[in-house]
């Protein structure tokens, strides 16, 4: 076996409220595709961000070519041959592909030579099977193309270890195959590719070696040929996760109904086209879709944060499209937004003040013009107890809580007054297995209590486990709707990709 390119020894990295890496050992060999598998929050991204110079480890050493390396910045890492492509791309939208690739290269030339640069970028792209037009402006590129530009940036810098953080999360199934082909080709040149994922089938298809992380530690290692999805899943979650029992649905009357709703998204583009959807009491309707196909706008239009341009939104048959978010909350529409720390919670505020964000204007917290801090603390303490939020104190700023505890506080606040409708967007994103399970149990118990739940999620596992029906959004339209019992993943996946099954 060839000596490893990179060796990580005992990497520890902690953040307020969570230990992301608790002593991780890992080697990366030239020419291999190494899959880093793990649940959300297992520490995969953090570990690779340590390797890519974005975080400095609290303890542990990084050896590159056998020598200890002190990586203080992504620049240090790329200079040592380690390049990372993040989930959220870091491209300048108004620049061309070539300009993005060259940006920050420390070119010594004062004058650029566009023709030569384009040719050079095109040559590197061709050598790795990455089809992309060097002269194209990034703004006009699809997500898959932008990803290729990010990879190209790293190859241009001659990365010997290419780290891809959940590269398929943003792709349609059709875009995955060319990516995999490029990965194979890059590895074939003796470079190492680290492929971060939580998707078993992908990992089995692409990896030479699989390392599973769980709760910040290495849970195990496997060869794709010698393992099974079931064995990997067990390594990932540590134990067979009890699927929360989902009693047979006995949905009641229609509570929330959208008829022909149009809405505009950021930047003025039409984000929802004639969306019609109904949710009954005691029913969870799941909304699937590739990110950016109108999910956020749909959630906001129901929650009262985005005015519908056309169509009707009804609660118990009464139009509510003209009401703002506070009025809808008072009618019983609760909302767990996608960005819990920037929208649903106020990061620098203590638990107490976050616990009353919806109810501060009414007794017991709002008394006339006054804000009763004791009542806010009492409400926070009650939510902490009922929803098992782990927090040092009700006066602790919520930014110091872990993601799971933030989410329990948020969901606890939203469901405190048993709503009629709960809109939940990516409610388990970034949460660990236990926190995810607790949110799932909560959604099911709300369903049992007769709440109409609209669940927008990017995890098909989650939707299949919880939803009674699944609607698929594609380019702002409902591309299809199926009872979960009668739906297959393939069918939903095709709808997400815009194909009609």
């Amino acid at each position: 076996m060839r000596p490893p390119l990179v060796e990580l020894r005992g990497i520890v990295k902690a953040f307020p409220g969570v230990v992301a890496n608790a002593g991780v050992d890992l080697t990366i060999a030239p020419g291999e595709v190494l899959a880093l598998l793990g649940e959300n929050g297992a520490g995969k991204s953090t570990l690779m961000q340590v390797l890519a110079g974005l975080y400095r480890p609290d303890a542990g050493t990084i050896l590159i070519d056998g020598a200890p390396a002190d990586l203080r910045s992504p620049g240090d890492a790329i200079a040592r041959g380690i390049g990372m492509v993040h989930q959220h791309f870091r491209l300048v939208e108004s620049f061309t592909v070539t300009e993005n690739v060259l940006l920050g290269q420390g070119e010594r030339r004062f004058l650029l030579r566009p023709a030569a640069d384009h040719a050079r970028v095109a040559r590197i792209a061709g050598a790795h099977g990455l089809t992309v037009e060097p002269r194209a402006v990034v703004r006009q590129l699809s997500v898959g193309e932008r990803q290729r530009v990010e990879i190209l940036k790293m190859l241009y810098r001659d990365a010997r270890v290419l780290v891809l953080d959940e590269p398929t999360a943003v792709l349609t199934p059709q875009e995955v195959a060319p990516l995999f082909a490029a990965i194979r080709r890059i590895a074939g040149q003796g470079r190492a590719v680290v492929f971060i994922s939580h998707k078993l089938d992908e990992v089995l298809a692409i990896a030479d070696r699989i390392v599973v992380l769980r709760a910040g530690r290495v849970a195990g290692e496997a060869q794709p040929a010698e393992t099974t999805p079931r064995a990997l899943a067990r390594l990932m979650v540590g134990h067979d996760v009890d699927r929360p029992p989902r009693p047979v649905a006995a949905p009641g009357a229609i509570v929330l109904e959208l008829r022909g709703v149009d809405a505009t998204g950021e930047g003025g583009r039409r984000a929802l086209h004639a969306v019609s959807l109904a949710v009954r009491a005691g029913e969870i309707v799941g909304v699937a879709g590739v990110a950016g196909n109108g999910q956020r706008e749909l959630a906001e239009v129901v929650a009262g944060l985005r005015p519908p341009e056309a169509g009707e939104i009804c609660l118990d048959g009464v139009g509510i499209g003209h009401l703002d978010s506070r009025a809808r909350w008072r009618l019983g529409i609760a909302y767990v937004p996608e960005d819990r720390l920037a929208e649903g919670l106020i990061a620098p505020f203590p638990l107490a003040e976050n616990a009353v964000l919806r109810d501060y204007a009414r007794p017991p917290v709002g008394r006339g013009p006054l804000f009763d801090r004791a009542a806010a603390r009492a409400r926070a303490a009650a939510i902490v107890e009922r929803f098992q939020v782990r927090a040092p104190h009700v006066d602790t700023p919520v930014r110091h809580l872990s993601g799971g505890n933030q989410q329990r506080l948020l969901v606890g606040r939203e469901t405190w007054r048993r709503p009629r409708v709960l809109v939940a967007m990516h409610p388990t994103r970034g949460l660990d297995v236990d926190a995810t399970a607790s949110v799932h149990r909560l959604l099911l118990s709300l369903r049992a209590e007769g709440v109409a739940v609209l669940l927008l999620s990017e995890s098909l596992d989650e939707l299949f486990a919880l939803a009674d029906r699944i609607a698929v959004l594609h380019r702002g339209r409902v591309a299809g709707e199926r009872p979960t019992a009668a739906a297959t993943r393939e069918e939903i996946g095709l709808l997400m990709a815009g194909a009609v099954p």
Binding site: P16, G304, S325, W329, D339, I346, L357, Y360, E385, A391
Partner: protein, 367 residues
Amino acid sequence: MSTGAAAPPLARPARAEPPAWVEAVGVRAGSIVAAFAVGAVFLAATGHDPAHAYREMAVGAFGSSFAVEQTLVKAIPLALAGLGVALAFTMGLWNVGAEGQLAVGALAASWLALSAGGLPAAVVLPGLTLLGALGGAAWALVPAALRAYAGVNEIISTLMLNYVALLWVDYLVFGAWADPTAFSFPYSRRFPEAAHLPRLYGDVHAGALAALVAAAGLALLLGRTRWGYEIRTIGASQAAARYAGIPVRRRILLVMATSGALAGLAGAGEVSGVIHRIQQGLSPGYGFTAIIVAWVAQLRPWAVVLVAVLFAALLNGGFVLQTAGVPAAIAYMLQAMILTFVLAGEYLLRRLRRRRAVAAARALAPP
């Protein structure tokens, strides 16, 4: 963990550390000491004896009852305008127009004082106080409305309106309001006695009471009222404020008007409590220094009052130094140094608190 009692302390830190307030007080006191220490280096480098200079400054600021009075008199406009901008900053509104709002408040108060010949003090004084506040509020409402309804950046608009207001003062004191007996010196007639604010202690006028009442009111508003909660929420996250259904535009108008009113009060206090006329250069930049005061105080109302006194003392001490041959600019250098060190200290404090929170979270982590 945390299932049983609802009593707030749900866990204790893992090991004994100094209590949080010791850290908070220590870091801030240390910041100010460090600023003076660096200032001492500059003084020594320019050939002055730092110990001597600081002693002279202290004497100039607090060494006699006259010095204390002068320091407090200067602290009044700094405190009032500082409270105003602190309120706006709390909501994330960059009102850097306190200087202009102060000037318009002074203009409005002066109009009444100059045209109220014969009216009793019981009418004139409440009247000019009210007009001062309304003048400042009106001047601040212009950028507020532009920001709320047209998205115009308030930093630019409040800053530019400062110059408009100051030029209005010039226009009037050189023209219509010029003192006919003063050979075109840029000031108005002296106000009638009825328009002089009563004095509380030596030269310290009733504006001091207004500053204390304003600090108490602001502390109450921010900490104990729904509006205060809304204002802090908007300042921390516009998205969360929208989510909660807080009427952001109306709060922008309310907060900017209140902010301007406080600066306007400062202006009314200067003309009717200190100089007893309106003149060119009625404020030596109080409205700008107020911005530094607000940040050094970390936007806390009572701290604004304390910092205003400290900064007024620096100004007075600086004047005294000048007579000893040390440039008065040392006072401004020290103000800037204090701001720098206090902001750096707040960063340090955040790091310490974060570490504490990490420790607390680890103590809570399941075994």
